[in-house]
Structure formats: structure tokens, C-alpha cells
Symmetry: C2
Subunit: 318 residues, 2 copies
């Protein structure tokens, strides 16, 4: 009898892991049984989110972090998350190029994710793929996003530590960073800090964080102060300090008990999403059984012959 | 007996409409019955999405379009969609200021939306609010987004025509625009085109569109050519031409039958989302009935005493 994908993943089989991640990215229901089998073997990897606007140099930074982690003897998984259009292809291409750097290193596993299915599919798929890397025994999983949209913020919520990468001279970007990202940022890396305006950017970020704290009110202040670090990833400067800061945050999560709280929150979200998916599958099958195809229903709704609320009520009752 | 919110909305009651939109924005289940009652009275408004990066001058452009539409005798609804953090407050403030311009004009209704709930909540809420404006009898509903992230792209999918606003000298922005926005762009407005580089931007956009068409392959080429128009919204230049182009696209959708196709697609998405919401409520109720609180379950999962798949299976069977 052949070993299941899950069994092979647990034995460190790289091809089995890649295969399972493809099933996850394609939202294949067959991935679930494997994820269920892997679940008891997860919860050991440190999950680090790396986010920031395009052009911030995230890929280079991630590469340098990987190199540093390998020197520390840690095994690493990298998930490059790109929810954008298939037209770009950037992440995939970049992925291939970067793969070559670490192609001979069995301690590194890089994979890009481009799930474009239903909303919520991306963070779910990323979470599941991180689980696979976790079960494979990777010590650290770096989750890199292409931008700082709402989708990416959701993705970051599943990381233990989220590092937001910015560059000097934020300009209009400061708006984009203000929008929601402060909530998930555990630390900021001011990359390309050999450029003019790096200190100014550090000051701007500091003011923004202070304003944020003030707005949240004294009682709600985070007990952990958000760190701001300068680095020049292309020259390998500041990478060690950056990692030390990420490691310190993880240590804080563990000793404060916040790690379990974050895991609980993640479990809660995941449980609800899985259950919803289950019920959805049942409901869609039921709509099909009624003989009325989904497309026909959509046409009747578009023609105002019925409304989506009535149909949904009927399907939920079946 | 008092009239329902829906009845009052159909009579053009502005306060009832504002109240219902607040219920929608807050994701109150009580909004559903009203939306269901309004549904047969919708499908007449022309929905126009206005998107683009922060700083592109979307708000000014929208204001000028509103003024032009009022001159044409059309009633207008404006939805300013801001999925960003509550820290910014930008949209709300801007909304108030802009409201004053049209405060005395009963033919204009402006409202900002800031739903930050679960994924998908934003496009759902926007769609529902557009329905309210539609049912009120607004001829045109302008949906303005704050940026061009994945969320905003989802929002644009519900518009009949999507206008992407850019400014000369795109720089890094070209990356952001490449990512997914081409799919939803029916036309581009190069705003602030009195600035240097406007013609260059037009050419860049043209090349991008051609490249995109080439990548899609000859067979999949869109039958409607994406228009690129220059304007200077602050000086009211090019606004008439912009509107004419939007109107021409809408006319094309109607005569080609694509309008019904888009409505069908929207109905399909909406039906699935409504059904998903219903099932979610059922699922949470089922988890509660088991006597096991959701938090306890999350803790057991976080501790790896069980897994979310097993719990979801149990709950789905109940």
C-alpha cells in the first residue's frame, strides 16, 4: 500500500509537500483528509509575516533572512503570497529565480501561492500551507505578501510576528500604511535605509505609532512596544538585528501566554471557515438536487423573477 | 401601523435610506428583510465604479461628475468605500465636507461605507447599499473606492462600468495598476493631465492594455476597447467627455446583452454569499447547541487535543 501524502510529508518528502500545497492552492477537497492527519504534528513552527508595498524590497529581505536562519541551523519554509491577477506572473517567476539560490539546500522550501478563488480563500490556503511546512518540521515559516491590502492583512493575522517593510521617502505610501496595517505590525523594517530620508521615515513611523496608541486610549495600549529597525537588505546590513528583534517578539509571545491566545484566535477563525465550507458544499449540492442549476437561479434573480434571500432561505432549510 | 424602512425608502425617504445603510454597514441581520422587500424595485440604476490610487483625485472627479449629471437632470447616489482602518477617518471627514456641497440638493445622496467585518463583507455591503440607492430611484450610483487593492477590485466587479483614475508620472504605481486592475477597468481617466507626462502616461497605459490583450490571446480579446481619456477634474476639464464615454460603455452593455450577463454574475455571487451567511448562522448555532462554547473548542484545537476538521464534521452532522 502506498503511503498517504500526509505520511510522506511527515517523513520530509518534498515532492509530497509540493503536491499537497498544490491541492490546497487549487482548493481541492481531497486536501482536507491530509491536513487533518497532519494537524496533530503542527504548532511547532514559528510563523513570521513579511509585508509591505511593492518595491519595498521584501523578496531580498526574505532571502537574507533565509540565509541568516540557515547559518543559525534553522530549517526554513517560505510562502510567497500573491493574490493579484494571473497577468502579472511576477511572484511565480521571482519564485523560480529565487528557488535556484536554495535549490541544493534541503533545509529550505519555497513556494508561491496565488489562490484567486472566493474571498477568504487566500488566508485559508496560506494557513493550510503553513501547516504543511510546520508538519514537515520547518523551524521557521516566512510568509511574504506582495502588498498591504486587506487580503494581505488577513494573511498576516495568522503569523506570530508580522514585520512591515517600508522604504525611506514614503510619500503617498504613508496613507497606505496607515490603513489597517498598524494593527498587525509587530515591527517595522526601514529597508534601503542608506537612502536619504531614512531617519525621517523612522520618526514618521514613530509618530504614527504614538498617535495610534493615543487614539486607542491608554488602557488598550499594546504591552509590547512596536520596534522600528533600519536595514539595507541588498548589502546584508541589519539582517541579524532584524531577526533578533523577530525572535525577541516570539519569545515575548511565549512567555506572556499571548502565543496560545493567538493560536486560539486562529483556531476559532479556522474552525468557523471549515464548518462554513462544509455546509456550503452541502447547500450547493442541495440546490443542484432541486433540479435548478445555480446559473438558472442567477438568471431568475437578475430578471427580478425572484430574489437571492428567498432562494438562500429555501436552500438553508433543505 | 408604521411603514417599514423599505416602504419609506421606496417613497424616497432619505432618513430611512440612511438608516438602512447604517444597518447594512453594521452587518445587522435586520437589514435583510428590508433588502428583500426592495429587491423587486431594483435593477434600474446605472452603477459606475471609480477607483485608483490615493492622491489620484478621485473625490474631485466624482464631485464634477455629480455636478454634470445633475445638469443632465439625472439623480445621483454616491458611495465612498473605505475598507481601511478606523484610525484614518479620512473618508468620513471628506464625506461630511462634500455633503455640504450638495446638502440642499435632494437629487444627490452621498454616503461613505467603512465595513471592516469578515472578508467579503465590504463588497456585499456596497452591493446592498447600491441596491438601496437603486430602489430610491437614483439614476446613477457612483461607487468610489480609496485604493486599488483586492477589496476594491471586488467592489468594482459589481459596477456596470469601472473607471480607473490615474495621474501622470505613475512611477511605482504602474506595478499596482498592473495587478488585477486591468481586468475590471472599462476605461481609464488620466486626471491632472495638465501635469508633465500626461501623454506618456496615456502611451504607457495603451502599451499595457495591448500587452494584456496579447497575453490573453486573440480569441479572448474583449469586444469593447478600453478607452483612455485625459481630464483635469479640478478645472472641470474633460468631465463631459468622460461621462459620455461611461454612458457609451453602458449603452454597449445593454445592446450587446452583456448587461444581463453581468447582472447574472452578480446575482450568482450574491446568492452564494447570502447562503454562506445563512449557513454560518446555522453552524454557529449548532456549535452552541453541543454545549461546547466556541472558545473552548478553539482552545482545545490550539492545544492540539482535537482538530478543526473533526469538530466541523461533528457540527455539520447535527
Amino acid at each position: 500500500m502506498t503511503a498517504s501524502l500526509a505520511e510522506r510529508v511527515l517523513q520530509g518528502d518534498v515532492r509530497a509537500a509540493a503536491r499537497l500545497m498544490r491541492l490546497i492552492d487549487d482548493a481541492q477537497p481531497s486536501a482536507e483528509a491530509e491536513l487533518k492527519a497532519l494537524f496533530p504534528h503542527t504548532g511547532r513552527a514559528q510563523l513570521v509575516g513579511i509585508t509591505g508595498n511593492p518595491g519595498a524590497g521584501k523578496s531580498t529581505l526574505v532571502d537574507r533572512l533565509v540565509a541568516h536562519l540557515r547559518k543559525l541551523g534553522k530549517t526554513v519554509g517560505v510562502l510567497a503570497v500573491d493574490p493579484s491577477s494571473p497577468f502579472t506572473g511576477g511572484a511565480i517567476l521571482g519564485d523560480r529565480i529565487r528557488m535556484q539560490d536554495h535549490a541544493l539546500d534541503p533545509g529550505v522550501f519555497i513556494r508561491s501561492l496565488a489562490t484567486r478563488g472566493q474571498l477568504g480563500g487566500l488566508s485559508r490556503a496560506t494557513s493550510d500551507c503553513a501547516r504543511v511546512l510546520d508538519a514537515m518540521g520547518k523551524d521557521v515559516v516566512l510568509i511574504e505578501t506582495v502588498g498591504v491590502g486587506q487580503d494581505e492583512i488577513e494573511v498576516c493575522r495568522l503569523a506570530h510576528t508580522t514585520c512591515v517593510v517600508v522604504v525611506p521617502g514614503l510619500g503617498d505610501d504613508i496613507q497606505a500604511i496607515k490603513a489597517g496595517i498598524l494593527e498587525v505590525a509587530d515591527l517595522f523594517a526601514v529597508n534601503k535605509s542608506d537612502r536619504e530620508g531614512a531617519d525621517r521615515t523612522v520618526r514618521d513611523l514613530r509618530s504614527m505609532l504614538e498617535l495610534n496608541h493615543a487614539m486607542l486610549g491608554a488602557d488598550d495600549q499594546a504591552p509590547y512596544e512596536t520596534q522600528i529597525l533600519k536595514c539595507v537588505a541588498s548589502r546584508d546590513e541589519g539582517i541579524i538585528e532584524l531577526w533578533n528583534s523577530i525572535a525577541a517578539h516570539y519569545q515575548y509571545l511565549k512567555t506572556s501566554g499571548e502565543l496560545l491566545e493567538r493560536e486560539k484566535l486562529r483556531a476559532r477563525t479556522e474552525l468557523i471557515e471549515i464548518l462554513r465550507e462544509r455546509l456550503m458544499r452541502v447547500a450547493l449540492a442541495k440546490l443542484g438536487k432541486q433540479g435548478a442549476q445555480l446559473d438558472d437561479l442567477a438568471l431568475r434573480i437578475a430578471r427580478r423573477e425572484t430574489d437571492p434571500y428567498t432562494i438562500a432561505d429555501e436552500a438553508a432549510r433543505l
